[in-house]
């Protein structure tokens, strides 16, 4: 099963119920949106899927792996990569090094051939470097290869984090607000990138507040509100859903308490 299956996932922090009985399915090779008002539990869900948090109850399955039993590094090893809402790059590394650090699960980099300077080690290093350069080119950062990541603009940092996630060769990519803080033109470039990744067979689950971005990009959308799933459907279905309209009007018109 290549679908990502989320079944009855709940999570509470002390007495606060962050997620309650969340269930939905992400079909392989699609871009799936996760939307909802602030505090709806979207980031908590991504943290649970990527193994940084464990669910209080419920199960998640991807490619016959029970995600709720795996630690973060094991989740990464089965081909699930993620980015962070607050961007967690390695600040004292260059762009190239950030991407190379992301090649952990896709490289061998064995110590022994390096100790003996074997050609195989040099070949692998060259190969990994080329792949990292190609990844940087793909997100449009090929002119910033040796810049320290903390000297990049906000949008560039988001794109670098996507490049670092892509160097895991993931089959499922979890993006937490990939275009937040980007100008319209830059967001369009990211949208094109995500579409082409999807055409290559990658599955993408993304959180985003930019509605036109979500509606134009995603084939299916799950709406969370107060930790519960309001609905899952196509953009048209979601737009027509009465509860969604209420939840969103509620946030713009009269705020939830």
């Amino acid at each position: 099963m290549n679908r990502l299956l989320v079944e009855n996932v709940s999570r509470h922090f002390g007495g606060v119920q962050a997620l309650e009985d969340v269930s939905f399915i992400v079909e392989p090779g699609t871009i799936h949106g996760l939307i909802g008002p602030n505090g709806a539990g979207k980031t908590t869900l991504i943290n649970i899927l990527s193994g940084l948090l464990s669910p209080s109850s419920g199960r998640m399955n991807y490619r016959n792996h029970d995600l709720h039993r795996l630690a973060a590094h094991q989740v990464a090893a089965i081909g699930i990569a993620r980015t962070f809402q607050n961007i967690r790059l390695f600040p004292h590394m260059s762009c190239l090094e950030n991407v190379q650090a992301g090649q952990h699960v896709t490289s061998r980099r064995s110590l022994l051939p390096r100790l003996f300077h074997l050609p195989s080690a040099r070949r692998e290093d060259r190969d990994l470097c080329e792949r990292a350069m190609a990844m940087l080119a793909r997100v449009g950062l090929d002119d910033k290869v040796s810049y320290q990541s903390r000297n990049l603009s906000y949008g560039e940092r988001r794109r670098l984090e996507i490049a670092r996630a892509l160097s895991l060769n993931p089959s499922l990519l979890l993006l937490d607000e990939p275009v937040a803080g980007m100008r319209q033109g830059e967001a369009m470039v990211v949208a094109d990138l995500l579409r082409s990744l999807c055409r290559e067979g990658m599955t993408i689950l993304l959180i985003e507040h930019n509605m036109s971005f979500v509606m134009s990009l995603c084939s299916r959308i799950t709406v969370l509100d107060f930790g519960r799933v309001l609905t899952t459907g196509t953009p048209a279905e979601v737009r027509a859903c009465r509860e969604v309209i209420e939840a969103y009007l509620g946030t713009t018109g009269e705020p939830h308490a």
Binding site: L52, L89, A101
Partner: protein, 289 residues
Amino acid sequence: MEHLLQFYAIYGSVINFIGINALLALSLNVTLSAGMLSLGNAAFAAVGGYTAGILSLRFGFPYVASLAGGTCAAGLVGLVIGLPVLRLKGVFLAMATLAFGEVVRLAAVNLDVTGGAEGLTGIPNVTTTWMIYLVLAAAAYFIAMLRRSRLGWGLVSMREDETAASSLGIPVTYYKAVAFVIGAMLAGLAGGMYAHLNYLITPRDYGFFIAVDLLIYNIVGGTNIWYGPILGAALLTALPEVLRGAGVTAGPIRMGINGLILLLVILFLPNGLASLFARRRSSAVKAGA
């Protein structure tokens, strides 16, 4: 040649100490490069030193076998201590390792097998200068290559951001334990060589302030590159002799200069003296690009 021999006759022991201190500083660098502040390496050197000394002295082991025994003992203790301690962060890890170090030192003072406060005397004096520098070169090369390996990439990523590192597939806890054990083994090896350099080891050789000195060597030299700790150890170990040569004999002034160097480096050169070289290189790269 004659001058060289004369120089060695006078400064041989300083040259040996530089090598041992550099080796110890490198052992600490393994954990520091992963962002773990451990002050236990002097204690691991004690474990290695006493084990190797006892193996030579009481059981008649040949030198290399004693060193291997000391190295393994230190690694084993590192593993046992590391597993529970590595959950702690920052200064709490520093203090747990420091407390461990004190327990080891006090054990050495109180046990019979270690010779108590007077220490272990009569250890065969077989470590020579070339052996120290051969091992140092090998260790530096090992660490330089380690940094290019998968483990090395993982360790540096962990120092930058543990959460992000784990979501890139880096097994943070496992790598921490591995780094801790490698550091402990290197320290144990240095301790074993030191024990066979001097006829004598005492608990004082491995106290808290030795652990702090190792940290200072790394900070002054720079933790980001393999030659940083060696540079720091060489500079600060040789400094008293250099000052003596320059006519500064007052102990307080020498000590003050030590502190001042450390202060200036941490305030103005956070990546250590090695960054002076590295910076020149990277600016050359930028100019070329």
